[in-house]
Symmetry: C2
């Protein structure tokens, strides 16, 4: 049963929760483009609407501020009773995006039909692509933002994640409101992993001002001016290594082929 | 520094490692389409080439079998010395895809320039979109395939992942060669989480034969005929719940807005 095929005899409208990927319009899927094209209303935070400005001609555009997700969810759902609406979300809407809050509010409002989530390229995939192949296999994704999750819970998750030995992707690694959290996370990582563990820092992936930095855990723990809210950080796992090419450095986490094959 | 901008004075060729997303051509990004269009050679396993058959007119297509990733990596890199080559990978190439092994082999061969990874929609995002919003925030991704990673390591990762309390995405959950692993994983989950924990099972996401099932941990532990190698399984976290709508069931993992807002 695909959501888009849910019956909806009594509803005229439709709500797409659209992942727009990391930044550039080239990183949207065909399905995401189609949903936006089909929509009368496009709702999102200014940052994301600016990224897809070239797709908004002739649309009724509703700009909503950061931190106003609950309101945006309400408004999108209300409009979708009668109209086709796209609420846009950076990366993938199901990962630190709008899908969760829209469905939570939809549940409260008793609206279920005609809501479709359109997946997108999440920051973990986008940053990994620019760094080489730092994930490759199993990994953990954790946001360092304590706006919606208490820090003691995040801290516990970080400790368990680092003890798993797999790469860890950090979303929202640093903001002005909590400058010390990133350093604390790096110190937790250093308790479980060697100081030379590769760390990848990607700022503004596939956007203007893109920056890709390969460093180590010990360096990241003391110097992190490059880390802000537009950054994704990948801490390598037990097997991750830095490949020093003639053209710069990349991170490789072997998938395990070396345990079975010679190459 | 973006990889695509690496200098390459002495090389004519180019290698794109392209994520084609979960299945349908609509789920490819514009950048992925562009890379395939620009390529003379397209290399991949038959399953993935069939999914993008409509894009292969006029291409030199090299079909390679499952399990021949090392060979495929070699061949792609050799061809990319002189030609533009796309090696295609299901989902995102950086997550259980071709990026890792291609870069490992490139490192051995001393080829670095002109390799670009094009990210795609990974199965975690695709399956989550069809299930509602089962991830929403932090999560762990683990493959149950023990072809490249010993089972005792996978088992240790599963125990730590379930004790984190966050949703866990299981890739390659079951194959004929290891029918008991999925049940073992569910039993490990049951030691850490209540029997009513939501479990989402998505088979053939965005492909023919798509199937989306919402069930619980205790049910998934005893009956799993729906689970095979074309399936992704999401085990809910501590806060995940099933939303029983008039039109079917979805999984919602609240992001944490309820701790700050009324809605």
């Amino acid at each position: 049963m695909e959501m888009s095929q849910l019956p909806s005899p009594d509803k005229k409208g439709r709500l797409y929760i659209v992942g727009i990927g990391p930044g550039s319009v080239e990183q949207l899927t065909g399905a995401a483009l189609k949903a936006i094209r089909a929509s009368e209303y496009v709702i999102g935070s200014g940052t994301y609407l600016d990224m897809i400005a070239s797709l908004l001609d002739g649309k009724r555009v509703i700009r909503s501020g950061m931190g106003r997700e609950v309101e945006r969810a309400h408004e999108s759902l209300e409009l979708s009773r009668e109209s086709t609406v796209a609420v846009v979300s950076g990366g993938d809407p199901g990962i630190y995006g709008m899908a969760g809050i829209v469905l939570e509010v939809a549940e409260k409002m008793g609206i279920a039909a005609n809501i479709e989530v359109i997946p997108g390229v999440t920051a973990a995939s986008a940053s990994a692509a620019l760094l080489g192949s730092p994930l490759s296999g199993d990994y953990v994704s954790i946001s360092l933002s304590d706006l919606l999750t208490p820090w003691d819970i995040i801290r516990k998750r970080l400790c368990l994640a680092f003890s798993m030995g797999v790469p860890v992707v950090l979303y929202n690694p640093r903001s002005r409101g909590r400058p010390g959290r990133f350093r604390e996370a790096m110190e937790l990582a250093l308790k479980a992993r060697p100081p030379g563990t590769p760390v990848g820092i990607v700022r503004n992936a596939y956007r203007e001002g893109e920056q890709v930095i390969v460093t180590t855990l010990e360096k990241a723990a003391v110097s992190h001016d490059d880390v802000d809210m537009h950054t994704t950080v990948i801490v390598g796992g037990e097997e991750s290594r830095i490949w020093r090419t003639g053209n710069g450095e990349r991170i490789i986490t072997p998938r395990g082929y070396h345990r079975k094959y010679e190459y």
